[in-house]
Structure formats: C-alpha cells, structure tokens
Amino acid sequence: MATKQIVTIKGQNGVLGIVLDPKADFEDIKESLRKKTSQGRDFFNTDMKIMFKGRELDEYSEKVLIDIITEETDREIIFVQDEGYAAPPRVQRTQEQAPEPEPPTSPSRLKYRETATAYYHTGLRSGQSVKHKGSVVVIGDANPGSEIVADGNVIVLGALKGMAHAGAAGDSSCFVSALTLQPTQLRIAKTISYVPAPAGERAGSKKAGASADKAAENPHKPAYAYIKEGQVFVMPL
C-alpha cells in the first residue's frame, strides 16, 4: 500500500471519524479499512457512532464500509453521522489528516440506519427487557414492568402496558404504536411522558369502581405516539 494512509480513524466526542482518501480506489479503501479495523479491534471496545469524512459516499459504498467494520470488530454501528454534525472543528484541525470540509453550523441531523428490525413473537412479561439498535416489533402484549428500548420505532401488536422508549439514541422522529397504548411510561428520544389512563383505570389493573362503569369506558383503540414540538402526542389510528 502507498505510504500515505488511505484510511485514518480517530475518535472525537464519542464519534469515530473515519477519514477516507478522496482519490484512492474504492477497493483500496475497503482493503485498508479492513486492515485498520482488524488491527484496532481493542480500540472498538463499544458500540459506535461513526462518521465518514473526506469523500462522498453513496448509500451502497457506505453500507459496504459499515459491513466491513461490523465484521471485523463484532461491534454494532449505532449511528452514521452526517459530516459537520456535532464535530467541533478545532479538535479536527489539530489532527493532521486529509482536507476536511467543515461547515460548522450545518443543521444537526442524525441519520438513523434502518438496518434491522427485531421481531419478538412472544409477549414481554414483567422484568423482561428488549433492547435493539433498530426498530422493535412485539407480537403480543408488553406487560407492566417490561421494557422496550429501541433506537428506532416501537410497535406492539397487542397491549403496551410496560415502558417503551423509541429513538433511544436521540432520534425524535421515532414513534411508538400499539393496539392498546397504555404504557406505564413512554419515552421518545429524550422526552419522557406517560399516556393518561382512562378514568378509574391504571395500566394493567383495575382501581376501585372500575368494573362498575366498565361499559362507559372507551374501548382501547390502536394508537400512535410521536413527538411534536418537544411534546408527546397520541393519535388514535
């Protein structure tokens, strides 16, 4: 390989910057990235947020490079950041590498990679917890005391009565949806809220007098919760 490094990896603010030579052949980049990541296995000691720099990548080649990293390190990529997001330029300038175009005030945008959705074919019971980097679909009930944490969306084909956290890594465009939406607590990105239970009823239980006016209660309809202006809204489907 050439003396000049085609791929450089440096961490900053919890984000791994992967600087790619703009002129090198893509095959060489792949080769070099594979070498780097397998050498630096210990360096990749946690799940990562990464950012590619120095070169325009289309969707496909980006995916190829990410696959190489996950293969070599056994680690998950949580996010692929767009260049310019949350990366203080000063830190970058102290490094010696390839020219980096840095619009410091580009709108912060996290690109959530909808790689995989996890499906759970059994319901979740109290104390059971599901954590996933993508979206989560639970087929069955999520009982009180259960926990669903997804970096993507949360969909429950059943009654959601436990805690659900969508967009756990910060993506506030994620949503939570369930056939019966009665979570003990609902979190989307950094917003925490709870869905007010119908009068006289608590999630998963009956309070005094609940059965008496059972008929007057609204049947639980499928609903959908999302964030708008920092607040959680619930919309019946």
């Binding site: 059994t122 019971r125 104390g127 009930d141 009180p144 005391g145 998963g204 005094a208 059965s211």
Partner: protein, 263 residues
C-alpha cells in the same frame, strides 16, 4: 410417571405454603403417593403449616450433605395415606444448596412418589433457582392484587426462560363480594395480564387461618369452602376435568349443604 411441581409466586404472603400443604394433602386423599419438599431454607414454614414441626430430625441439607439417607429425613404424615414431608433446614440459608443438588434430589424422589410438590421461597434469587431446578411443572400462586400479579408475571417470565412447561395459575384469596362490587380484580382481569392456564380459584376463607394455625390442612374439611376449591384443584392435577367452582357465597352455601347431604 411422577411429576415434579414447583409452587411459586414471587411475592411473599400470597399462600404458597398453605397451597402446597393443601394440594399435597388433597392429592394424598386421592390415594397418590405425595412428597412435599420445603425449599425455603432458613425460613421453613411448611412443617408448621402441616403440624409436623416436632417430628423433624433430619432435613434437606442433611440429605444433600450425606448426613443421612433420604428415607430418614422424610416425615410421614400419619393422617393421610402416603403423604410425606421433606423439611427445610432452619439454621442454614439458601446458598447451602445448588440447583444441581436439588435436581438430583428430585430425581431420587421421583422413584418413590407420584407427585413431588416443591414449596418455593418468595423472591427470584438463589432460593427460587434452587426450587425450580428439578421441577417439570409450575403452579403460580397469586392473589388478585396488582403487586402480586405483577410479581407473578415476572415469575412466569423466569419460568419460561428456565423452560418449565406451561405454568398454571392458582388464584388465591378471591373475595367474590369485592369482585362483584368491582373493588377487586376478577379472574378474567388476572388472566388477561398473565395469559396462562387456570388451575383453580380459591376463595378467601377465614377457616384457612384457623386450619393453618392448627396445622391441619383444610382440604380434608368437607365443610370448608376453600377446602372444596383445593379438592377440585387436586382432581384437576390428576387429569380430571372439573369445572371451576362458583364462588358466589349464596350458591356456595347451597353447595355446602349439598356436600353435607352427600356425606
């Protein structure tokens, strides 16, 4: 073909030990060979509820440590045909046993008995893991309270993770008048959350306190309402198809009279 049941609940005080004692006695009355194993080491109760406390010489720890033979530690309850108790140790704690040792013990008991009922301690720690180690089936006892149901849900999750086949629900201490008024969860509310098969429903009964204090399981008392519920459950455990009893007190009294005439 013997079956090892663990009677468990997660939450304490919902009636695990009382249920174990009554189911054991009830199965013995159906002429099954039954052994009750108290797995609540350090907080043994089953012997007290059975009224056999004064007959303990050796206990489960003695067997596991090889201080005695299995037969020596088993206490035969003279009131019932073929009912035995294996008491827990009071001076040790849960860590004195490992799940492997429990499993081995259960396998030894299988050779002698049709039904092995393990009284599980409350909680989800070592004691729970020991108690379920040798079990094929589980009876989850709960009361119609939110906290008890929540814990039962957790326990069912743990049982499923431990690959114990379909746990069955025993809903204890139901007060039908409160259910009617809507002040207590009904069976349907509980099964909606827990989503498991119902083994039986036991009404709240003052007689239980009396029988527990006396050390005489109420299952043998034909006038006891709760005893009737336990008798039904025992018959279900032997594979009989017995409909759930009607807990309505008015009808209940009627049933009681009917029972008396049948005698």
């Amino acid at each position: 073909m013997s079956e090892v049941y663990v009677v468990t609940s997660g939450k304490g005080g919902v009636g695990k030990t009382t249920s174990t004692a009554n189911l054991g006695a009830g199965l013995a009355l159906l002429e099954k060979r039954v052994v009750l194993v108290d797995a609540d080491i350090g907080l043994r109760n089953l012997d007290v509820v059975m009224g056999l406390e004064n007959r303990i010489v050796f206990d489960i720890i003695d067997i596991i440590q090889g201080n005695c033979r299995l037969k020596q530690a088993l206490i035969r309850d003279k009131r019932y045909p073929n009912l035995h108790l294996l008491p827990a140790a009071q001076t040790k704690d849960k860590d004195a046993v490992t799940p492997e040792q429990m499993k081995k013990l259960c396998d030894e008991l299988r050779e002698e008995f049709d039904y092995i009922l393990i009284d599980c301690p409350a909680g989800i720690e070592q004691g729970f893991r020991n108690a379920i180690a040798g079990a094929d089936k589980a009876i989850v006892v709960t009361t119609p309270e939110v906290s008890a149901v929540r814990d039962a849900d957790r326990i069912i999750g743990l049982l499923e993770a431990a690959e114990i086949e379909s746990p069955m629900l025993l809903l204890n201490r139901v007060r039908i008048n409160m259910v009617k008024r809507g002040d207590m969860m009904a069976l349907e509310d509980v099964t909606e959350i827990l989503a498991i098969d119902v083994l039986g429903v036991v009404p709240d009964d003052e007689g239980i306190v009396i029988s527990t204090n006396k050390g005489e399981p109420c299952v043998a008392d034909s006038a006891s309402f709760a005893g009737q519920a336990f008798r039904d459950i025992c018959r279900r455990m032997t594979g009989e198809n017995v409909p759930l009893m009607d807990l309505d007190p008015d009808k209940g009294f009627f049933a009681k009279f009917k029972n008396m005439f049948r005698k």
